[in-house]
Symmetry: C2
Subunit: 611 residues, 2 copies
């Protein structure tokens, strides 16, 4: 019943094929890792014809379970050069799953590899559209419905911002169509480009943001993917009653846990601003302090009050996907009651706000909208702009200059492209060693010197610096001390890898993250399997093992599992702490998971590695 959809953009072919039996209980992040391992040569160029853009749905997608509809997008990352899985909420994954597709694999390369040799001193280069990859004619939209699978020309969408392009697509395909699309950043193959998808209200603001998968979509010549689920249906459950019972327990836990039923609901992720600032772990002015003088002005409490005060289109408790019981999302409106952006999240506030010296929620929200429209990861861009600010390109706190640079990324000018290449590229160009990134990817809004477990996650995750790979801030531990952080990070990373594979939102984990009996009951009821609760951990371990092995083959070493040098040397105010988790501890995190590559093996597709 479940299928894999393969699209080859070189040949213009689309074909559905049965889901291999070995992948029957694999989805989301785990399936991305398995397909990448089997089919992507780990040493290929991420923007070349050998990389693949892999979309997957989770194991519990298209079931009635709340928060089960995350969409994973992955492949080899143009930002890190390693494996990447970036997931987003919204409506696409459930619709794709309801059509019976567990994964969508985009292969090939729409561009002619060799440029024409230009005439001598002819005054034109013959392929000057490099930024746009050869002119608008080549852009395509992939249309997926029960009855039709096709690649259509999308010339009229080329160059459009995400909001305008999504509006055009919704006009053309109707308000029920789910979309994934790239903005000018993805078209221009910028390493910080993400992939936008629609939320349940049609706003294209749920992002597979991290690791540059938008650039891979751009390299494949896809401006958008449209999924029309008409005729689709929820997936069969092996044991309907058992599923209902487990789902009842799951929902009840979510609805009684204070984090998932109150904090996220009323303050959104922005609740974290005050908490991180109190801990001295709020990235401020390019990670030069852990406390921001303007923290109160950008806090979740302030956001909450502003939304209520202003009314209008603002909405305090918004769900990105139907049936969500947490509703962490929000709609942020300006003084005139008109929406500025939805959602406005903690990571964005941290990176485009405090880390950029900006204490103004309206200004942050407008930068957020702009990044969304250009199609950029707000975390990477906030970090890149702050490195640029430290180099004197703009002033900290200058939202107008920041917006101008993001607009330049849209236009594809060299300064815009430099910032759109991410924080590491900016640091390199400006000779600045203070770049908060690991494996080429910028850190999120948890200062690793003050939240050391999350620092271990940044250092060791095969995904590069990424809080969603294993956030430790809610653990009962002294976050300033190095002791115990490696074990904490590992446990968290393994667990999250399993939840990402099930397609669940990260925000269920404060409530059900360790309710492994409930989770395995859900899987067993869905698939008719009889797994013990320990399987959740085993699943996470297998997924991480695959990712680590992909990275090993791509050229990563345990040596790459380090934070930037300056964080071990420069004491962070206010606690005057350096990152002092030992190299030995870091090297030990995944020691036992290296070489774990046999889970879910599907020999049919496995590539042969060059000798």
């Amino acid at each position: 019943m479940d299928q894999i959809l393969r699209v080859n953009v070189s040949r213009g072919t689309i074909a559905a094929e049965p889901l291999p039996e070995s992948w029957r209980e694999l989805g989301g992040r785990g399936l991305v890792a398995r397909i990448a391992m089997d089919e992507i040569p780990p040493d290929c160029h991420p923007l070349g014809p050998h990389n693949k853009l892999i979309f997957t749905v989770g194991l519990l997608a298209a079931t009635p379970l709340p928060c089960s509809g995350r969409l994973s997008a992955g492949g080899k990352s143009p930002l890190t050069g390693g494996i990447k899985e970036s997931n987003a909420g919204g409506i696409l994954a459930a619709k794709l799953a309801r059509l019976g597709f567990r994964a969508l694999v985009v292969e090939g390369d729409s561009r002619c590899l060799a440029p024409d040799v230009p005439e001598l001193n002819s005054g034109t280069s013959g392929h000057g559209e490099g930024g746009e990859g050869g002119g608008p004619g080549r852009w395509q939209v992939l249309y997926i419905s029960r009855d039709r699978l096709e690649l259509r020309p999308a010339g009229d969408l080329a160059g459009l911002g995400v909001y305008a392009a999504a509006a055009k697509l919704r006009d053309a395909f109707g308000p029920k169509a789910a979309l994934a699309l790239v903005g000018p950043a993805g078209e221009g193959r910028l390493p910080a480009a993400g992939i936008a998808t629609l939320d349940k209200d049609g706003s294209p603001s749920r992002y597979c943001a991290r690791g540059g998968m938008g650039a891979v979509m751009g390299a494949k010549g896809l401006k958008a993917i449209v999924v029309d689920e008409a005729g689709g249906a929820n997936l069969p459950l092996a044991h309907r009653e058992a599923f209902r019972a487990a789902m009842g327990r799951y929902t009840e836990i979510l609805q009684t846990n204070p984090q998932t039923s109150q904090v996220y609901t009323f303050y959104g992720t922005a609740a974290m601003v005050s908490m991180a600032n109190t801990y001295g772990g709020l990235p401020t002015c390019n990670f030069s302090s852990g406390q921001f003088p303007g923290a109160e002005a950008i806090s979740g409490e302030r956001l909450h009050d502003l939304i209520l005060e202003r009314g209008g289109e603002g909405d305090l408790t918004h769900a990105c996907m139907p049936g969500c019981v947490i509703k962490c999302s929000n709609v942020f409106a300006g003084p005139d009651g008109k929406v500025i952006v939805s959602p406005l999240e903690y990571e964005t506030i941290g990176l485009l706000g405090s880390n950029l010296g900006l204490a103004d929620l309206d200004a942050i929200a407008r930068l957020n909208w702009l990044c969304n429209d250009v199609g950029l990861d707000t975390i990477e861009i906030g970090a890149a702009l702050a490195v640029a600010a430290e180099a004197g390109v703009l002033d900290f706190g200058d939202a107008v200059a920041a917006a101008r640079i993001i607009e330049e990324a849209r236009e594809g000018t060299p300064p815009g492209r430099l910032v759109g290449s991410g924080a590491m590229a900016v640091g390199r160009a400006f000779g600045n060693i203070r770049v908060p990134a690991v494996k080429g990817q910028a850190m999120s809004a948890y200062e690793p010197r003050a939240v050391k477990g999350t620092g271990v996650t940044y250092a060791t995750s095969p995904q590069g610096a990424d809080h969603t790979a294993g956030l430790t801030i809610r653990a009962k531990i002294d976050h300033l001390k190095p002791e115990g952080q490696a074990a904490l990070s590992k446990k968290t990373q393994v667990n999250v890898a399993a939840f990402d594979t099930m397609g669940l939102c990260l925000f269920v984990t404060p409530a059900v993250g360790w309710e492994h009996q409930v989770m395995v009951d859900l899987l067993n009821a869905r698939f008719g399997s009889r797994r013990p609760p320990e399987y959740i951990t085993e699943l996470g371990r297998q997924v991480l093992g695959l990712e680590l092995e992909f990275n090993r083959r791509a050229g990563f070493l345990p040596l790459d599992d380090r934070l930037p040098e300056f964080m071990a040397q420069e004491a962070l105010p206010p606690h005057q702490v350096v990152f002092d988790v030992s190299g030995e501890d870091l090297a030990g995190v995944f020691e036992d998971l290296r070489g774990q590559v046999n889970g879910f093996r599907n020999s049919k597709f496995e590539i042969r590695l060059p000798p």
Copy 2:
């Protein structure tokens, strides 16, 4: 007698210490490798306080031997992240050696690591001089003479181009002083920044160009090094007569070999333009063809005729160091007889000429002067500009646009800094997979698909893509075929590593490269040792072993010894060849040299690696 000079810019100390006994027969490239291995943590940031800038002189420096005065500059490369040794002609090495210094090691970091946290929305960043590294006050000149060693403030030199700065320094220190200095590119810590030194006529145009060592000098806060050799003397020879005899044979071979006595002398390295074009191996328009329609207009023959025609300050046969018998260098004058640049070399003509679609020697010479003045590697910049041209930033053949971008590198604008970050950075920003670079360093002017042995060198050299590490074009082999190229490259690389360690110019190798008896006679006569001729090869092997081990510890894998993907896929006109030396052949090149790290070990300085 021989000493090591250590300068710590954090503490402002300068101290001479005796050359360790184990380094008595080590110099040049080999001594760079040994010091790097012992003293630089391989995983440090190249621009941070733990990297060192190492200058060394060769084993035969400050002897009467012609062509023995190359200056090596090295450390961990900001461009490749691996070991770097870049050498240049001119007069500094001999003078440093005549003062008794085998090496000069610059340590520490002149910058304060942590920036001040700026005031909230204050409108200034508090450290906006990032590009210049904290304002002109911090720049220093290191002065070295027999009686005085000192660091002097150099505020009045900050921001000056290399030619103007050198003129000021010569005014201040007299026309006999030798100089090494950086331009605005090095001050700005650009990864393509080189270190300029004076030729024998006082022109600051001999460059330790490759790998960004100018950025390391900038990171150490050194604008210039001045060496006054007054009171110095040639180094003692253990066996004066034996040295004289061997030197006689060496000189005779140089003076009778057609390459070293005629081709280099009358046509300079530019003779290679016609040869490479004939082979179909002249990089053209970002490595998209091996033949350039305008090759004749930029050939060595044309250069020769132009210099003779124009007369004036032009000079066909110029020596960069006193006593050179090859005199490959030239002085290129414009139609008015005034010098445009000296020298104008093949690699520059290939990268800033054919590879940029530019068929005009005057225009190339002006771009060359501009790169020299800003302090940039012409190879890296030519490659970076061509990648930018392919992306539509400028037109191929547009010298005015190219000059404008190089001027922007001087000014430190984002577009200038992007190009000054090298070809790989430009490719990343523009999503262009056609980047002719290995380990982050751009290829020189030999197309590896058409000159496959040199392609093997690019792929496998621990220095990154660099023809000087092992140029194979003069070997009797079918350069288009993959067979035998790995062995040829290895043999050449091992041999060159020995010559680089002796401090000899690469251009003696066509004549005496395999005259190992002569070479070992020279070493034996200099040091009173009794080495067999096989020692030359052994020396090269030990040096490469050290470099490979440094890179291994820095995180390089055999996987990194590859050419870019597109060169294996895209057939190169006119021969329609791809790079098809097998991964197995590439992996085998240095298999037996990995782990060779005991040569010249000096345990006194060895760093402890983190666990």
